[in-house]
């Protein structure tokens, strides 16, 4: 079953400039696996070294955060739209890491 994944602007450089991608999936986990196997350069911006979703990467099915649904196991229907939203977080600290 094809579902739509909306690609945020900074990640479109890894999806051949596409702003949305259709993948075959029954769950959110399958959709993300399908997406990152097709566009492998996306992987490091979504997953950490242990292969887990980075803590600041939020995945929404329509308007629902998958953290409060069934996470990776969240089932999908054909009309569902998956959005990847970075938590925009930050703040001042002592150490500067700029170049």
């Amino acid at each position: 079953m094809p579902v739509k994944v909306v690609i945020p602007t900074p990640l479109r450089q890894y999806t051949g400039k596409k702003d949305s991608v259709e993948v075959e999936a029954k769950t959110v986990g399958e959709a993300l696996a399908g997406l990152t196997s097709r566009y492998s350069d996306l992987r490091k911006h979504l997953y950490n070294e242990e292969g887990k979703l980075r803590s600041f990467v939020n995945v929404y099915v329509n308007d629902e955060d998958i953290r409060f649904l069934q996470k990776d196991q969240t089932p999908l229907t054909e009309t569902d739209v998956i959005s990847i939203v970075p938590s925009i977080a930050g703040g001042s600290m002592i150490r500067c890491i700029c170049s």
Partner: protein, 155 residues
């Protein structure tokens, strides 16, 4: 890449930073990207979700709540972001980046900023010293995620 703002937009970020002092302010930059330049058309101030610490902890827990607070951390509600982004897309605008303030700290990205960033976006930082807007800089995360490179900020 360079990011372009007009005086009115600059003023809007300055006054947001001063209004929220000594807390951090944050917001979104909407506009159009064309080749090597990003042109801001709207500055959208957003709420610092760290002020609602219970909800913020649920979304992105602080590692050291004793030392970290709304004074040195900010978090934007991802659902609010999603809504602003969707609405912007219907008008042909993209999210070009985000801004936040560093109260009484230099306008330089921290290690915490880097760990919570994606390439391409502009991360604009405004230093607010003793309540007054001071230096403003813009940064872009490198492809390998290891450092922030300065990005020219044009007026």
């Amino acid at each position: 890449m360079a990011i372009q703002l007009n005086t009115e937009q600059l003023e809007k970020i300055h006054s947001h930073g001063e209004r929220e002092y000594p807390n951090e302010c944050c917001g979104m930059l909407l506009g159009r990207a064309d080749g090597d330049s990003k042109e801001v058309s709207e500055v959208v101030p957003l709420k610092n979700l760290r002020l609602d610490s219970a909800r913020a902890q649920e979304l992105l827990p602080l590692e050291d709540p004793g030392r970290e607070s709304e004074k040195n951390r900010f978090l934007i509600d991802p659902l609010e972001q999603l809504r602003v982004e969707r609405e912007a897309r219907t008008r042909g605008l993209d999210v070009l980046g985000y801004y936040h303030s560093h109260p009484d700290h230099p306008a330089r990205p921290s290690n915490y900023d880097r760990e919570h960033a994606w390439p391409w976006y502009s991360y604009v930082i405004l230093s607010v010293e003793r309540g007054k807007a001071a230096e403003m800089t813009s940064w872009v995360l490198s492809e390998d995620r290891l450092r922030f490179d300065p990005e020219p900020l044009k007026l």
